[in-house]
């Protein structure tokens, strides 16, 4: 019916049709993700607690990301120190380096880069793992055994993300500041006392809280999107089997990354 009007009514109506359809699809999808999230999130608190599974996921998402987060944190901090120094030295205020490095890490770079790194490392594998379970009927098998697949697969991952994202962000911040110290103080000769004093003076609880809230929001969004994409691999038009899983993984990563950056802007404008 829609197509008939589209071809019969000319390009403009076709365009409006397309716009309407796309909008409805997006809204429908948003609704589905929201329901998926609340369902998965509430099941975290259902008894008995899945302590073991949450710990396993904390290990997988958190502990195994330790090294990569430290490495990225270190180099981010070092390059901030380098760039910051050469910019600040033009105004003769290289003493502010510590504050510049610490604030940009704690407010912005820490939560965002940590989230992006976890998406790449753990998010993609969450989507792929759940996607494969879906196409090989393992999720159906759980269902037939009267084991709630949402509770079994999704809830522990959301819970583990909520625990690990802030911790990894904190790690990223600390290692980043050490990186800034390495380049700023040890390499370029900024006074070590001034470096730390400036950090002490300028960083307030509000900054840390802001970073914490951001990392929490990112944890919920990333874990939900990655689980959702894997969980509904089979509903994806045009992709079945391995192809479907690869598409699910790709969209899990792309959508999570975009959402993290968009939400970062939105959250910053509210928190400032």
């Amino acid at each position: 019916m829609n197509q008939e009007t589209a071809t019969g009514g000319g390009n403009l109506i076709g365009l409006i049709n397309l716009l309407g359809k796309t909008t409805l699809n997006i809204i429908g999808e948003l609704g589905a993700v929201a329901i998926f999230f609340f369902h998965g999130f509430l099941l975290i608190f259902s008894l008995p607690f899945q302590f073991r599974k949450v710990v396993q996921q904390v290990y997988f998402i958190g502990v195994k990301s330790f090294l990569i987060i430290s490495l990225i944190g270190l180099f981010t901090g070092m390059v901030l120190g380098l760039q910051g120094y050469y910019t600040l030295v033009k105004f003769g205020s290289e003493g502010m380096l510590g504050a510049a490095v610490a604030l940009s890490l704690i407010r912005e770079l820490g939560p965002v880069l940590t989230a992006l790194m976890i998406i790449g490392r753990a998010g993609s594998s969450i989507a792929a793992e759940i996607g494969i379970m879906r196409i090989s009927e393992q999720i159906d098998a759980l269902d037939t055994m009267d084991i709630n697949p949402m509770r079994f697969l999704v809830s522990p991952r959301i819970a583990a993300s909520v625990i690990t994202f802030p911790l990894l962000t904190a790690l990223f911040d600390v290692i980043g500041i050490i990186g800034g110290y390495l380049t700023g103080v040890l390499l370029l000769g900024v006074n070590s006392g001034i470096f730390f004093n400036r950090i002490y003076d300028s960083v307030v609880a509000k900054d840390i809280n802001g970073g914490f809230i951001k990392s929490l929001v990112f944890a919920l969004v990333v874990s939900t999107i990655c689980c959702y994409q894997g969980y509904f691999t089979h509903m994806r038009p045009g992709g079945f089997g391995a192809k479907g899983v690869s598409l699910a993984t790709t969209s899990a990563v792309v959508i999570s990354c975009v959402l993290v950056l968009v939400l970062d802007y939105v959250l910053t404008s509210f928190l400032l």
Binding site: E129, S136, A141, T144, M145, D146, F152
Partner: protein, 411 residues
């Protein structure tokens, strides 16, 4: 008849444009094993998935003990689901869990049994299915047959009252297949669970099934006991039971019987119109059933195959031959007289005498005398097929013989 445990009432299901089930009616009784047989891809698994709610019907109803599935409350539905197990066609084992953890999962997640109790139950199944050596391996590290057994163990470990088996024996070697069927039958006698089994293993599944349903063309044309199945005149049923014979006819190059019957009728009408005459020949292996019984199935089939291929090799392009009984082949020679039929008979006589199968020394264990007989008639006036066959049988003469002369236990 008592009330069925599960009943499908006019259930239809489509996937997009593809209709898989169309007004299916099926009854499954408590405490029985019901086998659903049918060709691949006709919707057997789809049928099974409706019972456990993985798929919902587009129209029609599924009744559990007389109550529609759609009216089940959540707790009722969960209770029903907990009482049954589903064994998936592709096993659906959890590939990130070991064999032991796979089997233990339903107990760990669903019950509050202590660890030692769970271990005891799982170990019992592991032992029962000879999985001891692989219990710490992951599903991808073990063979397909072992995976099947793990899936079966996982289905049985919760001691369900109903089990849905989706091709439990596909991909197993014949010995293990028997073991699995035996295990299902044994456990069924012991516990008395209700079983629904989708299978291709005809006739093996008939031995353990109380009821059989055939699914074909989106419907269920037959359901009943294996005995009723065997006695049925339905053509689809016949094809399922005689699948092996159909295959053999195709292998030997014989024409399908309905086709030859059709040709025979056409020729008869021409005979009635006095346009022409034609000839027929009947070849029989005497005592083929005796050979099957005493010497063996393969020997009897090889002998039949030898005769069929011999005849087929002698026929010209417009001449036909089809199996009419367990050891009988009828040939039709549309444009020829009796001479042509006799030519084929003598050709077969020469061809068969040198065959390995006619050598008594090959039957070392059990040997039975048998003979190849043939007879021909020229049809000049209309006659029905049964009478013609009777006449042909009277007309037959022995054209080749296999005599044991005391090489083995002569029966």
């Amino acid at each position: 008849m008592p009330q069925p445990f599960i009943e499908f009432k006019d259930v239809s299901k489509s996937f997009g444009n593809l209709q898989v089930l169309d007004g299916v009616n099926l009854k499954i009784y408590s405490g029985e094993i019901t086998s659903i047989i049918g060709k691949s891809g006709v919707g057997k698994s789809v049928l099974l998935k409706h019972i456990i709610g993985l798929l919902k019907p587009d129209s029609g109803q599924i009744l559990i003990k007389g109550k529609p599935l759609s009216e089940f409350s959540r707790p009722e539905w969960r209770e029903f689901k907990r009482s049954l197990s589903y064994m998936f066609q592709n096993n659906a084992l959890f590939d990130s869990l070991t064999v032991f953890e796979n089997i233990a999962l339903p107990l760990v997640e669903r019950t509050s049994l202590p660890g030692s109790e769970i271990k005891k139950k799982v170990d019992y199944r592991i032992h029962q299915f000879e999985l001891n050596e692989v219990k710490d391996r992951y599903p991808s590290q073990i063979s397909g047959g072992m995976q099947k057994r793990v899936a079966l163990a996982r289905a049985l470990v919760t001691e369900p009252t109903m089990i849905l088996f989706d091709e439990p024996t596909t991909g197993l070697d014949p010995l293990r297949k028997n073991a699995v069927l035996n295990m299902i039958a044994h456990y069924q006698h012991e516990i008395g669970f209700t079983g629904v089994m989708v299978s291709h293993d005809i006739p093996d599944v008939f031995f353990i099934s109380n009821r059989v349903a055939i699914i074909e063309n989106r419907k269920i044309p037959f359901q009943g006991t294996p005995l009723e199945l065997e006695q049925s005149d339905d053509e689809i049923v016949w094809q399922f039971i005689h699948g092996q014979e159909v295959l053999q006819d195709q292998l030997t190059g014989l024409d399908p019987r309905p086709e030859v019957e059709k040709l025979f009728k056409e020729l008869l009408s021409e005979v009635a119109a006095k346009k022409k005459t034609f000839s027929v020949a009947l070849f029989t292996i005497d005592d083929l059933d005796e050979i099957k019984k005493h010497v063996g199935y393969i020997a009897s089939q090889r002998i039949f195959q030898c005769m069929a291929m011999g005849i087929k090799g002698l026929l010209h392009s417009k001449e036909y031959a089809a199996r009419f009984g367990s050891g009988e082949i009828l040939s039709v020679f549309p444009d020829s007289g009796l001479d042509r039929a006799r030519e084929v008979i003598s050709g077969l006589s020469r061809g068969c005498s040198n065959q390995e199968l006619m050598d008594p020394s090959k039957y070392k264990k059990v040997c039975i005398d048998f003979a190849l007989k043939a007879g021909a008639i020229e049809v000049r006036e209309p006659v029905d097929l049964t009478t013609l066959l009777e006449k042909l049988r009277e007309n037959q003469e022995v054209i080749a013989k296999m005599e044991c002369r005391g090489v083995a236990d002569k029966k």
